[in-house]
Symmetry: C2
Subunit: 377 residues, 2 copies
């Protein structure tokens, strides 16, 4: 399989294995140091090889966003998989199959109707559904609002519901994505944790024991507030690769970013006052997630080691690279045709979603493996 990175046909998504390993190990250690269980999310890469690293080789305790991810893990000996997505009646039969097949498959509910659908679907061998209640600690997406009376009343329904075991509380603190530095991240993590602990206490007063309660998001778990040691679980996902967005939020350093799009310069253009390169990275290779063209930004990604460049525009297969400073036109001779550029993605989850194969590199830029993500739903 051994191949040199510079022999790859471009565009190609390259993943540095040593960086993924370092990111996985760092997060496992952070969780351990805080006395919590890491339940890592699979959604960013959806590659089996990464799930093994994320669990430190235990193959236990992954979270998924789609049922094909769950199937892949189930078929490969993983246990204790959490389907971290609100279950709805149509998906109940497939979730029943996974619940019956695996030692532990955990589903989310955030409303009574979904719970009632589970009660009515009896699992084989008198197995119970394992149910986490999704609570909203401020992200404003799915989950029952943690401060509302609905939260306690839904949990009471879960506890008394037939065919169901109450597994605990889960919250994705997605509002951490609005942060701009580690202090802001820690404030979000602290507030979300405190809300969670308040609910756990309230349940205790009412005689309900909460087996697990966790929050997660890559920012809050990468820069954890001390309070987060009082939780039982964390569940970040993007940290395996990180990206420019996480750097801007304050979750990581730029050198922690573990993937990039490898692209070649395919042409030099001077059209009127417009001087630009075309590269073979269009939106099919990196996605349109990102910050649109402006004087202040590097565009849809960061061109590694070239602070003078920005990815200004993309069509399906063409990327237009311009001078970041519009008063300094590009010296095209610095970027010969066929020379390489590396682009850090703004949002690595989105970039991964565009690629059928990830080219795995070692520190010497040898391609040592090909990882194939599971696709679809």
């Amino acid at each position: 399989l051994m191949q040199k990175m510079n022999d790859l046909r471009t565009p190609a998504l390259v993943v540095y294995k040593h960086k993924v390993e370092a990111n996985c190990e760092r997060m496992l250690k952070l969780a351990k140091d805080h006395g919590v269980t890491l339940k890592p999310h699979f959604k960013t890469t959806k590659c089996l090889e990464v799930a093994i690293m994320q669990t430190g080789g235990t193959k236990c305790g992954m979270e998924v966003s789609t049922l094909v991810e769950a199937d892949l893990l189930a078929e490969n000996g993983f246990e204790n998989v959490i389907y971290a997505y609100p279950i709805s009646p149509h998906k109940t039969p497939k979730c029943a199959e996974l619940s019956e097949k695996m030692k532990s498959f955990v589903v989310f509910v955030d409303n009574v109707a979904a719970l009632k659908a589970l009660e009515q679907w009896k699992l084989k061998d008198n197995k119970n559904w394992q149910v986490l209640v999704e609570v909203d600690t401020g992200a404003g997406r799915s989950g029952v609002q943690i401060e509302s009376l609905d939260a306690v009343s839904l949990i009471k329904e879960v506890v008394k519901c037939g065919n169901v075991t109450f597994s605990g509380l889960y919250s994705h603190c997605g509002h951490s994505y609005k942060c701009k530095n580690a202090e802001e991240i820690k404030e979000v993590g602290k507030m979300a944790t405190n809300k969670m602990l308040t609910l756990v206490d309230e349940l205790k007063k009412q005689g309900i024991t909460c087996p697990s309660y966790g929050i997660g998001s890559t920012p809050s778990c990468s820069k954890p507030a001390p309070e987060m040691s009082k939780l039982t679980e964390w569940h970040p996902g993007n940290y395996v690769l990180y990206d420019l967005m996480q750097v801007k939020i304050g979750s990581c350093e730029i050198d922690d970013i573990a993937s990039f799009v490898l692209t070649r310069v395919i042409g030099h253009y001077t059209k009127g006052e417009d001087v630009f390169l075309i590269i073979d990275c269009g939106w099919t290779a990196i996605s349109l997630h990102g910050v649109k063209d402006s004087e202040e930004t590097s565009g849809y990604g960061l061109i590694v080691d070239h602070p003078e460049l920005k990815l200004a525009h993309m069509s399906q297969e063409h990327g237009i690279v311009k001078s970041k400073d519009s008063t300094k036109p590009l010296d095209l001779s610095r970027y010969p045709v066929d020379s390489f550029l590396r682009i850090y993605p703004y949002h690595s989850c989105a970039t991964c979603a565009m690629h059928p194969v990830f080219y795995v590199a070692d520190q010497n830029d040898n391609i040592i493996d090909h990882w194939r993500p599971v696709k679809g739903w």
Copy 2:
């Protein structure tokens, strides 16, 4: 294989076969009526079944944007494939392989350096490279500027270059995407055509015969200016599916859109003053291409038969659907959990790029086929 659409796991990309057929037939007829050859682009679906329809069953004259598309067509008996992308030296060996394998494989050049790389790579059996010169009629992307002296001098280089046959001129009039109605589209088509014809005349005066000269883009070919009958070729691509962007440009009617994302309502939420549905269509299912949330637009897509709704926000697997008119809160009871919504994509090329399988439906909403696009580069 027969399956009912409503049994599909969601999200799913559904393609109405009869609409794709109608779009393909209409474009073939339009080209025929204008006396030009249709050289359809494969980039939107990248599904073999669609290429067959696009060529009216002849399997002749497709254009591709990636080399894996060319491989797929070559392996399936297609002939006269145009690699509609600027060739660069790294891709020359693979293009040589395709040129040697197929009866006709045509490449693009828009600069002398790329041409010289072809001259130096001799094909087997004394075969010549077939070369189209890409000219820029106003789109401002790749291609040599048609009014510049560089255009004529590059073409002269091609004509006298060893191992190379001059196949003609090609222009993607991408500036038609800025149009807002058929009249504006026709003006762009007319101007691009006239520029092309001026160059063809100039070449003739200099003793150079131009075997083919075409322009293309779905807008300009869907609403052709009368002048476009003087070209030899058209090369649109998106027309096979169309999308909301094409409706806004004026290329088609909304009923011509041949694909949609099928999604289910998975939850009802009332959070403070925010009332919304969550659907199982996130950006992994439709892409983030589109018009961002505003009072005037339907967001990232158009929710079919529900003018009161907009797709306001998406995360990886969650779509947030709100009332388009913020003064009229949603009546959630109208959209039961598990009920379906259909979303027309803003940009169908981008939506197709997110899906490993297209579910092909007949007029009775039976799923009659699964099409699998080729992925990668």
